[in-house]
Amino acid sequence: MDRMQTQIGNRHASTPFQSQVGAASSARKRYRGGEAQRRPNSQASHETGAKSRQQHAAERAYSPSATSWEAKTGRLSDGVGSSRRTPAVGREVFDSPTPESEPASSCASPQDPVEDMDSLEPWIQKQLVALRAEHGGGTTRWPKYLGSILVPVRATATLEPMAVTSGAELVLKVSPIMSNGTGSLGRHNRNRQRQRLRFAVRVCTAEHGREFGRLEPLEALDLPTCLGALQSANLIIARARAVDCPLHIRFACVFIAEVAIFAAKSMFSFAAPGERSGRRPAGFDADQEDALTHWIAQLFHSLTGSGTDTNETTALSSDTITHTKARIEAPGERGSASVTKCLRTEAFRPEDAVQWILAAAENVHVDAPPVPVPPLLASTLRPYQQSALNWMVARERAPSHTPSSDDTQQTWREQRLPDGTRYFQHRVSGRVSLQPPMTSPAVAGGILADEMGLGKTVEAISLMLANPRPPQEQTRLDRQAALFTKHPERVTTESHRENESDTKAGGRRAANAAAAAQTRRSLVDSCCGGTLIVCPMSILSQWCAELNTHVADDADFIVHIYYANDRETDPLVLARFQVVITTYGTLYSTWKSTQQTESAEARGLYALRWHRLILDEAHVIKNPSSGCSRAVLDLRSRYRWALTGTPLQNNLEDIYPLLRFLAVEPWSDASLWKRYIARPFESGQAAKMQAALSLLSSILQPLMLRRTKRTLDEHTGAPILELPAKQTEVVYVDLSAAERQLYDAVYKASRARFSTFLADNQITFYLTTVFEMLMRIRQLCDHPLLIMSCPARDLHILQDVQKFMQRLTEGRGSDQATTYLETLAGQLQQSLHDERSIESSTNTKPLCPICLESIDDAVALRNCAHVFCRDCILTLLLSNRHGNAQCPVCRKGCSFADVMSTPRRSRFRVDLERGFFLSTKLARLVNDLVEAVQAFERDPVRHGKCVVFSQWTGMLDLIERALQAWNHEHARTLFQVGRLDGTLSQSRRTAVLEAFATMNPSTSAATATGRMNVLLASLRAGGVGLNLTAASSVFLVDPWWNPYVEEQAMDRVHRMGQTRTVQIRRYIVRDSVEERMLLLQDKKRSMVEDALGSSGTENQSSRLADLLLLFSLDAGGATGSRSKRL
């Protein structure tokens, strides 16, 4: 009976399809696996036919339903090579409709020698034979039959009756469609052509080759373009025959053709699976490759109904989630946090997503086998650090790190061709492959996302010591390297010298050298480096210091800093170091140079395979298209770790580059990430967003370890980190009458201006001006001199200020305030006068040799020390494109690197020596500092040093000046001041930090720097990543918009290692914009985004509301007529 059905099926050449075409508007011949499952008895109705039933069989066995996975994966892992499939079995699949017999045949050897030619329709067999004879000389099994699609054809000509009948073979011709309607030929824009290249597939009669129709696009697929693109890339061959054809084909009538598609072997090797950035086949660029992959996916989709998961989004994501979850909940892994529960119970707001994910990822308890503390570790680990170590070692040693078929199943779907050949299709990109795809081994490593101050560095160091490079690798390296000389340079120089004396042996030596180079290369390939740490430049020295502190002295533990010019480039030498530290910048430049050269020396870090790769502050790579982010991908290493306190900063996208770096399959695939996480999250639909969120959190769950300072210990219930108390005090400062007068005047003028902008509805247009005004007001709160520190080209502003102050003092009695203002105005007048007189007199100040005017913002050239305006020399250098610019004075070569700033006298227009005075805030600060420093001098155990943060380096200058003045006045050097701002070079920065960290008692005759007790740091430069635990008093001179920035700064002091009570003072001028900034900070603390940091997502209305608040205008009081005292 089965055979009868087969015959019936084979004979159905045209008739059954008529009904199909009529019923379904898409005339695809598709046989979904799903349909078969819905009809398990599979008493296939006539219309399904034999061929489809055979597809059923294959698809049912390999359809990615969760139940069939289990059985299959077991088989895949134990017997991939065994060939269980025999010809007889193959027939059985084809013949037997009973589902029971299918599993026996479902596993085939990858070679798959059996071909079911008989199962194909005769005309397809005929085509196959012809094609193989044509392409492979009849010896290969390629091309292979992929399947058939029924396509409507529209006639473009009228033929004689009976010229083409059903079953007649048709010839297909592919021609590109010009879609650039610009007119005359030969003027095509290549790019546009590529983007919009479309094809028409014409249908010709087999006898005369007369064109009489073209394939119509299907509703879901531009089939002609698909076929055209693939066929012109030689990936497929299409053959067709008329199926449902009227007797008389007239112009514009539609008939059906069956297009049989044959795949060339190149299609399956088109994009080799498992390659991430990989080589692409010659002759295709990235765009073409993308387009072709897309068309392959589309083609398979229409052939089998199961190309990529475009229609099965929900199915896959639930599959994947189940699987991801299953892995999390597997015994041995950490217990699952009740992620989904949180999601359902909490009211969900999209802007909380980042916080939510972080909170969900916070995990207290780590079920990992305890690891003994490595003997080389000099410091003791706190309990939570020990558990982090346990977890990290477990991640590195976990047996699940072998590639599992599970992972493969998530990304690749196994399918069968009609002739039984097994292939794999990528679920998202649609790439196909014959070989079982090699998923890159599951990630060995993870994200250590402990909050800052918990000691990620120590945890990482302990990991390095606890799971070092296997000793045999080290010894093998030593032994082999010993055969060679350690320094290849020496070899070459020696042989060179010998060559000179003995030219006869030259040839032999050259051969030896070549052989040596060859061996060297293989040696480099075989050996394994230690741990590579990549960190931002600013904390490079801190890493060295931490390694020094935490690793006991050991001769074998050598750290190399791969930075600047003295770095080691020989991979063999690099491999001998236990730890190599480099910066993101260096890594990127190395990466760029590796693109150009193949020599092992130039490849440096990239020549080696590393034991472990650690990215510190890994959020640096959060932009996936940035060079750094791509540079870290190409490093080879056994384990990969990302250390960051803020794995997500602004949005969920931030985590993707980390997943990509860790090669978390399948999520490191950008398209998959976008489809299942990014896009659903951006869709704005709560349900989709929640699904995306819970998916992301289940991905992160096993990968990420995050504890915060508030995390409670699982056993004791106490916070895991006990820090000394932190006392925050807001010091309110009342301006003196004179300052108040000045402040009020400037403030009112600014507010009036703001109101005009507001009335004109031009706030967004003048936003920069508004912020500039705000800055001036805020600077006034600090010190009036600050607003005079603007660059010389803004002299007119100063003139304005000066006039303004003069006007203010006119017509008043000589009270104290007026005197103050008069003094200020006088100073300003003087300075402006000086400026002008300097400009006018050529003797006092040198002229710029380029613009022949007095030098503005002077810079000098390193080689010849000639001085120019910065603008002038930069313009000169820019205009010279060949890099052979010369100094205009002495004709010495110069470049951008040679330009250096000349030391500035002072940024202030006012002579600081004569015109210096204390503002109220500064006076208060100095008083407090005196107290704090004296306390430190008295009792360095209970009181630490002082750190002063300001956002203006100008203010830091003034503070420094004030402290010096104090020293001078009291004739003793109480204050030893250090500076930390963006202008410091790496080495000076290190020196300052070291000096500040040393706790020399003040009585000792140490050097001045050793006694540094006050550190003046700019909020931006000193606020990140540093360890300033030598201090215990923090002075925040002015508030910053974003409370988190301030908190970051405080945490520099109030962090692990701090033993004293931390005293924090924030100086706020009463009744001023600063007070309102505090309000704003409170408001922001509840928001995630840094609204004034223009992250682009904030809405304008909230920003406007902020501005109104700062100018203390109500939303309704936009006219500014309120007389409320501010």
């Binding site: 473009t156 000509a157 879609s179 309607g181 007119g183 030929l185 030969g186 080759g209 007369r210 514009a252």
Partner: protein, 262 residues
């Protein structure tokens, strides 16, 4: 059986526009190498030749050389039914007395076909001798069109003289006279605007502006135009369409136009 497909109707439209005012009926000679057309105007003063190479088409197929006698006005009416970016397929079956035009829009959502009756047109094909011209000028076609249309407002005939100083187009009419001089220029920035003048011998001839005006309707076909002059030989104005072919016009010089010669 003859089949040819133009990827864009615009090209065919432009070609027709450039010819149809000069000649009414013409034979399209279709051979394996391409389509040629040669025709003289009614007054037998000018001659137009068109060559469209077979390689320039999307599809070109000629089983047996055919001669399609077509009334260009009717064909131009049909071509007006095609959108500029439509694909045009022209075919004629063996022995048929009509030629078929098939227009397909790029999206294949609109298709139209037109049949045009063929005519028997007597015409002998002239051998045009390949000769060395005394002067050859290559200039932007828009420039040529402008000169010709400017000058034709003044008078009926233009005197073209090529000398060492350049090319001079002189016109003398009832209201007055005028002249345009072109000099050699390399077009440093825009090579497509260069003017190349090759002079073997000074030439001076006058031509009817009416015809030159008609020739210049071919300007949209090509960015560059070539003018070739010889003493006692017709003027050649050639518009070449990069890889497809060319459209060339020959014009007999005016004789006895002595008043200008002075």
């Amino acid at each position: 059986m003859f089949e040819a497909r133009f990827p864009e109707a615009l090209l065919l439209k432009k070609i027709l526009e450039a010819i149809k005012d000069l000649v009414q009926d013409a034979n399209f000679e279709c051979t394996e190498s391409g389509i040629t057309l040669q025709a003289m105007d009614n007054a037998h003063v000018s001659l137009v030749t068109l060559l469209l190479r077979g390689e320039g088409f999307d599809l070109y197929r000629v089983d047996k050389p055919e001669s399609l006698g077509i009334n260009l006005n009717s064909m131009s009416k049909i071509m007006r039914c095609a959108a500029n970016n439509d694909t045009v397929t022209v075919d004629k079956l063996e022995g048929a007395d009509t030629v078929r035009f098939l227009f397909e829009s790029p999206n294949a959502d609109r298709m139209s076909e037109f049949h045009l009756k063929l005519m028997d047109i007597d015409s002998e094909t002239l051998e045009i001798p390949e000769s060395m011209y005394h002067a050859e000028i290559e200039l932007p076609s828009a420039e040529l069109r402008r000169i010709v249309s400017d000058l034709s407002t003044m008078g009926d005939s233009v005197r073209i003289s090529v000398s060492k100083e350049g090319v001079r187009f002189t016109v003398r009419g009832d209201e007055g006279s005028g002249s345009v001089i072109l000099r050699q220029s390399t077009g440093v920035d825009k090579p497509e605007e260069a003017i190349h003048i090759v002079m073997n011998e000074p030439v001076e001839q006058s031509f009817a502006l009416k015809y030159l005006n008609l020739f210049c309707k071919a300007a949209p076909l090509s960015a560059r135009a070539q003018i070739k002059l010889s003493k006692d030989a017709p003027l050649l104005v050639n518009f070449s369409m990069n890889n497809i072919g060319y459209l060339a016009y020959y014009l007999a010089p005016k004789i006895g136009d002595e008043d200008i010669e002075e």
